[in-house]
């Protein structure tokens, strides 16, 4: 089933981390397997933030040897960063297997990311100037507490609660997906894409790579492909309704925008609230009510509807 949520404040920062946690916790019943956030803050000047994991959560049950293995993998990550002349400004551990790097790098992000992911068990969750992408097993409260998300302040964010239907219960298959290798672009999706394999083949022939077998990743890769060709986010969303089959509602966030698209059947829900200060959207109204308990006007976007908002 899965639940998705999005939030954007116009022209100001707010408690996006805690607000997204409240919204996603209210959607727990739609997907208890994993929870993910893509939240956007000020960034660190011109520096990049990289979120990376060096193992799956389930690997931690493999005994004490896994900790030695993790140290080796983290050392390998540092070695690759050094080899590419990346200046690491700050390095911190969110969990035993998830790290956050603040770094300065002016080279090709795609080359760097590919090199890093050659390390066993390693996957880059995101690289961006404003984006912080966090996903892990458990509900929103668990993930928020583990990664200290309640303290995060920013302009906008998207999130996802996942009920695994077509791929494994692991972090790799959890949402949001980073639109590799384009910094600050992320996607969450609710639905099923029925021409996934055809489209995946097309994307791979164009040189893009996939890290999972989850159909939702296609939307991230597809968006990344279009943006790399200079297409506007709104045009990419509109084109996706023509080119991608299935039932879907998905949200895309960039450094300063948040967009939504709904398929031609309008088979997957989305409830929308708009005001002059903020826009909130979620699979169910109960998520919006979690942060806006007062009486408000909401509505369901129609089939083939595409919207983009500016932070």
């Amino acid at each position: 089933m899965c639940g998705i949520a999005g939030l954007i404040h116009k022209g100001k920062k707010s408690d996006v981390g805690s607000q997204m946690t409240s919204m996603l916790q209210a959607l727990k019943h739609r997907g208890p397997d994993s929870t993910g956030y893509a939240v956007y803050g000020d960034g660190n000047g011109g520096d990049l933030v990289m979120r990376i994991k060096v193992a799956e959560a389930e690997d931690m049950g493999r005994g004490s040897g896994i900790y030695d293995e993790l140290e080796r993998r983290i050392a390998s990550v540092d070695e690759v960063l050094s080899k590419h002349k990346v200046k690491v400004i700050n390095k911190s551990k969110a969990t035993d297997y998830a790290l956050r790097y603040v770094m300065s790098y002016s080279g090709d992000l795609g080359v760097l990311a590919n090199h890093l992911e050659e390390i066993e068990g390693t996957e880059i969750l995101s690289i961006g100037n404003g984006l912080e992408l966090i996903k892990d097993l458990g509900d929103a409260s668990d993930v928020s507490e583990a990664y200290n998300l309640n303290a995060f302040k920013g302009t906008h964010g998207i999130g996802h609660t996942r009920m695994a239907t077509e791929s494994d219960v692991d972090i790799r298959s959890a949402h949001p997906y980073w639109a590799f290798p384009y910094n600050d672009v992320s996607v969450v999706h609710n639905g099923q894409l029925t021409n996934y394999w055809i489209m995946r083949r097309q994307m791979e022939q164009k040189g893009h790579r996939f890290t999972s077998n989850c159909d939702s990743e296609l939307l991230a890769v597809y968006t990344a492909h279009n943006l790399s060709k200079g297409m506007a986010l709104e045009d990419s969303l509109k084109q996706s309704i023509e080119e991608i089959d299935g039932v879907f509602t998905y949200l895309v966030a960039t450094k300063d925008k948040l967009g939504m698209a709904k398929d031609t059947m309008a088979a997957k829900p989305l409830v929308l609230y708009e005001s002059d200060e903020m826009i909130a959207m979620a699979s169910e109204e109960v998520a919006i009510r979690a942060i806006l308990p007062q009486e408000i006007d909401t509505y369901d976007p129609y089939d083939e509807e595409v919207r983009v908002w500016q932070a």
């Binding site: 409830v271 909401t298 129609y302």
Partner: protein, 289 residues
């Protein structure tokens, strides 16, 4: 049935082709004319276990700290104590609120409900001051439900009776599989509204999305605005004086009469070219004949 060549079939219109293939040569009878309830009996019908409530006995019910199940159980307990008017406060978008009420009751919901609210009800008069989520009033059998703001998709799915009214706009697949009753929408409705509709009437004062009345068996849809496209087997019919009188009565009753009146409404019914459930299938005809 006389044999028809492929060439001549290709040159025919869809309607001519269907008739030439012997699919609509018989008068529709049987189930399509079946009346399920005696109107007098249904008007006065009361479940033997229904509570004897007094509409002047009124109370508030705060749902803030209650689960949906607890709210529904509390409504039953209050009805068993004779309360005939209940004001439900702080619903906060909770799902499945006020379902399965088989009783006379005035229910006022001060806020918005989530999915599957007011489903399977038979008798209550309900006013929701906020918005409702997907599948509001599903399988409703009688009574009146008035939504003051917008509604989600599958509004009034499989409704069998009563009046289900939304003053705002509704999502997609409104009245899907509806089997009776009346759905009234003050604003717009989304795609596939009236999909597989079998009986009853739907009024949309605004615009209708694509595939309106797709695969409908019977029933009538009235649209005041534009129709993006008709669904398979949905056809436009003449708006008669009887239709206009009924529209005026219903829309006046709920204070939703458009400024332009009702003369501009489009009437949509089933073409009955797709479904011939009262006839034998062509293959079955061959076996018998």
């Amino acid at each position: 049935m006389a044999s028809v060549s492929d060439e001549s079939l290709k040159s025919m219109s869809q309607e001519e082709r269907v008739k030439a293939l012997g699919m609509t040569t018989e008068q529709l009878t049987g189930r399509s004319m079946f009346i399920e309830f005696d109107p007098k009996e249904s008007e006065n019908f009361i479940y033997p276990w229904a509570y004897d409530v007094d509409f002047n006995k009124r109370t508030d019910l705060d749902s803030d700290d209650l689960t949906s199940t607890e709210v529904n159980e509390e409504i039953r307990r209050l009805m068993s104590e004779g309360y005939g008017t209940i004001v439900l406060k702080n619903p906060r978008g909770k799902h499945s609120l006020a379902v399965g009420i088989l009783n006379k009751l005035n229910l006022i919901v001060e806020g918005s409900t989530g999915y599957f609210g007011l489903g399977l009800i038979d008798g209550p008069n309900v006013r929701v001051k906020g918005r409702v989520g997907w599948s509001c009033g599903e399988n409703m059998m009688s009574g009146t439900v008035i939504i003051e703001k917008n509604a989600g998709s599958t509004f009034g799915a499989a409704i069998r009776g009563g009046d289900l009214v939304c003053r705002g706009s509704v999502g997609s697949r409104t009245g899907i599989d509806m089997k009776g009753g009346t759905i009234i929408v003050g604003g717009d409705t989304g795609a596939l509204s009236g999909f597989m509709m079998q009986r009853g009437r739907m009024i949309v004062c605004g615009n209708a999305g694509k595939n309106l009345g797709d695969s409908m068996y019977d029933g009538t849809i009235y649209v005041g605005g534009s129709v993006k496209s008709f669904g398979v087997d949905a056809v436009e019919a003449e708006l008669t004086d009887v239709d206009k009188a009924w529209l005026k009565r219903k829309l006046t009753q709920y204070e939703m009469m458009p400024e332009k009146g009702v003369d501009h409404f489009t009437k949509v019914i089933a073409g009955k070219m797709l479904w011939n459930y009262d006839n034998l299938e062509p293959t079955e005809k061959k076996l018998i004949l």
